[in-house]
Subunit: 395 residues, 2 copies
């Protein structure tokens, strides 16, 4: 196990009706004027936004609103938010929505106190001096942004999708009411599940030895997802399934299960190109990318894939041919994604094979590094994209 | 899943050599004068205390020292610490040691700003207005106090062992260097393991339904312990095993795996009477108490015991007689404790059967409640103590 620091100071307020406490929590945190940031009209239509405002008004907290965050949040909205916060002297950013809204809120909170362009941080990776405090009311179990220090923003000019993270961007508090996710359509529930599972796989696939405790915790979360997601898909109103998924989604990405081990985030980068070019849901892209990436890298550590297959996917170990067990695990993952109607092929994302060289080049590996479990070259990425185009078994 | 709040703001600095950063961390936290609190002479002999002092001196942080905390920490030491902190105008308490030292440090930090007797909090359960900040350098993987809001203190007058907890007592930071646990004798390593496993069982045994994610996380930690503890027992210098156990021990008790579910801490209370009367290690007592308690309550929820037996102890499910599977799980737990040379019988703790009525009465159930999974009467507790006296299979 490698040396590490783990610090997850976010306060999680979990359960039914919890969003009504938001005003009190903001007041406790000393917020004077809040930006309420949200995405689509669904938080308006459901009455959630009105309830949030009522809770703030009860505590005499001032606020301004900014809605319209896109599923893949863009820099133009961040600039708009920064300007608004400066004009209105906002001292606290409250995100009401899913990962995109929270990521947009974090980028705004990062940009407000900074003299230059917030995008500088995404290019340089430098640490910020100050970030406005951020809190969240989560409405989608997926990105894990409610408990993480990360944000992912798309720069429209050049369609670059890039991530940035710093401990100062961890939300001060996050309100998680699983009932708010009951209105999600099935495809969003499924895409969110794929995102959560990807966050676990990206930590699970490591070259660090002797990491039994985090291996086991990763497996625990994956087993939870395999059991609970189909319940939420077949009955969207299943509160208990929603609750298990929502809490697993937070733990999957606050890094508890990833500390002390090298991680591999190349799949996320490979997917970011897809959602950036085709405008698809990140989770849907990940459902296509992950089995393909696993297929490409499995030979690097067959034992690890066999462990995953037996402990998580219930495969019987073939002691004489462990690669068969590993392969069966990947097939079961793909079958699981199919069973919840996620795409598993490039074409299903609207992808065209002719775009593959562009996609691979655009990641911009250059002299940099993509991946730690297995470092990938641009040619490797092309191979992985091509594998996504293979015919389905059903076809 | 029940509604809950989870807030674990402690910063964990984990790995080899991390104790050398303690001065910098204290300086960052604004500490001016620190009480260094420790237990036995081993932290002196090993040179750890000298390294800690050197780190503080480098940052020009003043300190006073108080050693001699007993394995079951007592109120007289707490009073001594409170007096010393007031005289010396200490503003930060640093515990260097295991759970007993950390618990003693928390009680001191609780008592210093309070006008009355710190024990008031243990009787009333009231929330404190202020607590001095606490940090830890952990030397034993066991109690989980490095990440928890709890403390357990023995009151010498009347030999009462009582617990108290409040979020303000969570350590500000905790330094976890697994190498510091390599010098522990086998019996202390084993007793620590039993304590960690008990913290998991106490959360696992619940009547709350649909808690798959926390069930799975509990099981993940137990599986880790079953695999790693025997390695650390057979080779005390196995850093990797020590690291997995140490991190599992923290997660087992910062309540991540216990939120959203009713818990049952009656076993801890039953054990506290044993360690209070016979002066034994808490973990050794738990190894005796747990299988007996499980035997007594299993009929209440056979499915849960069968789940534990199959998922954690590798038992094959007997679908027609699930109680056989559940019982086999308990037997395997007992066999595991035996395999690491922990006691499993009352007599091995120096217990005498004639003490049983006194022990059971002394818990003081009265009109109160002991246990949530299965509420226990004084008669039930007597039954459980008696079961601990049964002949061993080997005999």
């Amino acid at each position: 196990m490698d040396n590490f620091i783990f610090h997850s100071p976010t306060k999680f307020i979990f359960g039914k009706g919890r969003e009504d406490s938001v005003g009190g929590l903001l007041s406790e945190a000393g917020a004077k004027k809040v930006l309420i940031h949200y995405g689509s009209g669904s938080v308006v239509r459901s009455g959630l936004l009105a309830r949030i405002k009522a809770s703030l008004e009860k505590e005499q907290i001032q606020y301004v609103e900014l809605g319209g965050v896109l599923p893949n949040p863009v820099d133009s909205m961040v600039y708009k938010g920064i300007d608004l916060c400066r004009e209105e002297k906002v001292d606290f950013v409250l995100a009401v929505g899913g990962g995109s809204t929270i990521d947009s809120a974090k980028a705004i909170a990062l940009g407000v106190p900074y003299q230059g362009d917030f995008w500088d941080y995404f290019e340089s990776g430098d640490a910020p001096e100050k970030v406005l405090p951020v809190a969240t009311v989560l409405t989608i179990a997926a990105a894990g942004s409610e408990g993480s220090e990360h944000t992912v923003i798309t720069r429209l000019n050049g369609s670059k999708k890039r991530g940035y993270g710093h401990p100062k961007m961890r939300p001060l508090f996050s309100i998680l009411n699983p009932a708010l996710t009951q209105t999600l359509p099935k495809n969003q529930t499924a895409a969110g599940a794929a995102d959560i599972m990807a966050h676990i796989f990206e930590r699970y696939m490591t070259n660090t030895k002797d990491v039994e405790v985090s291996d086991r915790l990763c497996e625990a979360l994956l087993l939870t997802m395999l059991r609970e997601v189909p319940k939420a898909i077949s009955d969207p109103n299943n509160y208990e399934a929603r609750a298990n998924i929502m809490w697993a989604g937070m733990i999957a990405h606050n890094d508890l299960v990833g500390v002390g081990r090298e991680q591999d985030w190349s799949s996320h980068a490979i997917e970011h190109e897809l959602s950036s070019l085709y405008g698809i849901a990140h989770g849907a892209g990940l459902a296509v990318v992950f089995p393909a990436w696993m297929h490409f890298v499995m030979q690097h550590d067959i034992a690890r894939f066999a462990q995953l297959a037996t402990r998580v996917f219930g495969c019987e170990m073939d002691y004489f041919h462990p690669e068969n067990t590993g392969r069966q695990g990947i097939e079961r993952l793909e079958a699981f994604f199919s069973s919840i109607d996620l795409p598993t092929r490039f074409q299903e994302l609207g992808g065209q094979e002719k775009d593959i060289p562009y996609l691979a080049e655009h990641i911009g590996i250059g002299s940099g590094r993509l991946g730690y479990f297995v470092p990938l070259s641009t040619e490797d990425v092309i191979e992985i994209y091509k594998w996504m185009c293979r015919p389905t078994k059903r076809a």
